[in-house]
């Protein structure tokens, strides 16, 4: 483990333990605050079958996502640190102030709110309904084409609307990623060189039929200026301006849940003669819960106008079409086994994946 990773892991634990004794939802009588320390652990394997040797790579990995928080009065600090066989990264570190009930102002590193999936599930595998996330919501280091991590300020509020409903608003402003090689490189708090990332903004608004429930319908929008490195792009442009507009819904009817999101992405290479280009991507997902902790999920992901996008050409691994089926068994409290089968289309190649995952949250 790198020295930074060790320091960050220690910091995460300190965040949760900074309060009155060890936490996990506990507090001492009369204590000044409450802390949480959760470990989202997972281990998974994937077998890939493809007609292209480029994608024919079996793999196995294990992750521990450490989430720590400490709340005292109106102040809260939240950290999320991912330790895996592939990487160690401080994903979120936010310092917040609840200025009024359900209205928070945060500064730090956060997941930008225009990503519907990631602001809901973050890195907690156990709380994700499927093993994989939709391609358009992929993290930057997983070949994601949209910025996901900002360093800056985030405001969140949830307002009552009508007798039982609510309006959820989130807005973020900060430094976004740059593009190096074939990967978006988000700003890292501990890496001063990366802090020169250009300005990004992000917004999300949702109507909630029930204030305290998860059903929602809403829109998202974001904008990022992404610097291009010479190793990535050869041409007159020095950066890409990216604009994203999206719609989403999440709806539960008895044991059936529907989740859908669609994004329209406009890219413009600043300094190049070509104009703006658009592509669209989205997904439709159904999940049905059955007795004994079993659930079945199906998701269809699609995209349009991707072939003509010079921006997407910078990401050769972008999956244009994908269908997945996922079976999950919550075999004991806070432990689940999942099997997922996916069929992907990547640059003319058919790639089939078979995944198996154990996920849990401890303690």
């Amino acid at each position: 483990m790198q020295p930074f990773a060790m320091r960050a892991a220690a910091a995460m634990i300190m965040v949760a333990l900074a309060g009155p004794g060890i936490a996990t939802g506990s507090e001492t009588p009369g204590g000044p605050g409450q802390g949480e320390l959760l470990f989202f652990v997972s281990a998974d394997g994937v077998v890939v079958d493809s007609n292209s040797a480029l994608y024919d790579m079996d793999d196995a990995s294990a992750d521990v996502d450490v989430l720590g928080s400490f709340s005292a009065g109106s102040f809260r600090v939240l950290g999320e640190f991912l330790l895996s066989t592939d990487e160690q990264e401080l994903e979120r570190l936010q310092f917040g102030w609840e200025v009024r009930p359900e209205t928070y102002l945060w500064i730090g590193r956060f997941h930008q709110p225009a990503s519907v999936w990631n602001t809901r599930h973050h890195h907690g595998s156990y709380l994700q309904p499927s093993i994989t996330r939709p391609v358009i919501e992929s993290w930057e280091d997983e070949g994601g084409v949209l910025p996901q991590h900002f360093v800056g300020a985030l405001g969140e509020t949830r307002l009552p609307l009508g007798t039982a409903g609510g309006l959820s608003l989130q807005a973020g402003l900060g430094a976004g990623p740059r593009l190096e090689g074939r990967e978006l490189m988000p700003v890292e708090i501990y890496e001063p060189k990366s802090l020169d990332g250009r300005g990004s903004w992000s917004f999300r608004a949702a109507y909630l039929p029930e204030f305290e429930d998860e059903d929602a319908i809403g829109l998202v929008a974001s904008g990022s200026q992404i610097d291009l490195s010479r190793s990535t792009y050869v041409g007159p442009a020095s950066r890409v301006d990216l604009r994203v507009l999206g719609l989403f819904t999440s709806w539960q009817h008895e044991s059936l849940r529907l989740d859908a999101a669609g994004y329209l992405v406009r890219s413009r290479f600043v300094g190049a003669a070509s104009g703006a280009e658009d592509f669209a991507a989205g997904y439709l997902q159904f999940r049905r819960e059955f007795a004994r902790g079993l659930s079945l999920l199906g998701r269809l992901e699609g995209s349009a106008d991707t072939s003509d996008s010079a921006y997407l050409a910078l990401f050769p691994g972008f999956v244009k079409l994908r269908a997945i089926a996922d079976v999950r068994w919550d075999f004991r409290p806070q432990h689940a086994l999942s099997v997922e089968i996916a069929s992907n289309r990547v640059r003319g190649s058919e790639v089939r994946e078979f995944r198996l995952q154990w996920s849990a949250v401890l303690p």
Partner: protein, 148 residues
């Protein structure tokens, strides 16, 4: 879901009958430390509080304390107050913590722990069998949450 709820309701009724709750005039009540005699909390506010949302009373954020001292009490809390299964409730709390670092409600596992928490933690709110808090000094019943 409807049939599942009916099944749960029947199960609770059978359990309640087995414990002679009706004969004992038992009820599940919302309880807090003696302070404001006009303390009131609507059903929706109680649900928000135990999901981790901030609920204020007289300018102070209330602290939910989940009473897990009795299995039937917990089932009644989940079915009649939270209106969700235990698994769904636990997942909702974890999700709230993952998203915004919200602390989950503190849990107590005995009557003694409950009384200690309510008297020791300012602005704490919990639920209990009415008989469990009868005669306990320093506590007040806010409202009846469930009656057989």
């Amino acid at each position: 879901m409807q049939s599942r709820r009916r099944f749960l309701a029947l199960g609770l009724a059978a359990l309640a009958a087995g414990r002679n709750l009706a004969e004992d005039n038992q009820a599940v009540v919302l309880v807090t430390a003696v302070g404001d005699p006009a303390f009131a909390l609507g059903s929706l506010q109680v649900r928000k509080l135990f999901l981790g949302f901030t609920v204020l009373h007289a300018g102070h954020a209330l602290r939910p304390v989940r009473n897990r001292s009795d299995e039937l009490l917990d089932k009644i809390f989940l079915q009649h107050v939270m209106t969700m299964s235990a698994e769904t409730y636990e997942r909702r709390l974890l999700t709230m913590t993952l998203q915004q670092g919200r602390p989950r409600p503190m849990e107590v596992h005995s009557r003694e722990e409950l009384v200690r928490a309510l008297l020791g933690i300012p602005h704490s709110v919990s639920f209990a069998w009415s008989s469990d808090i009868q005669g306990v000094g320093g506590l007040q019943t806010v409202k009846v949450l469930w009656r057989p």
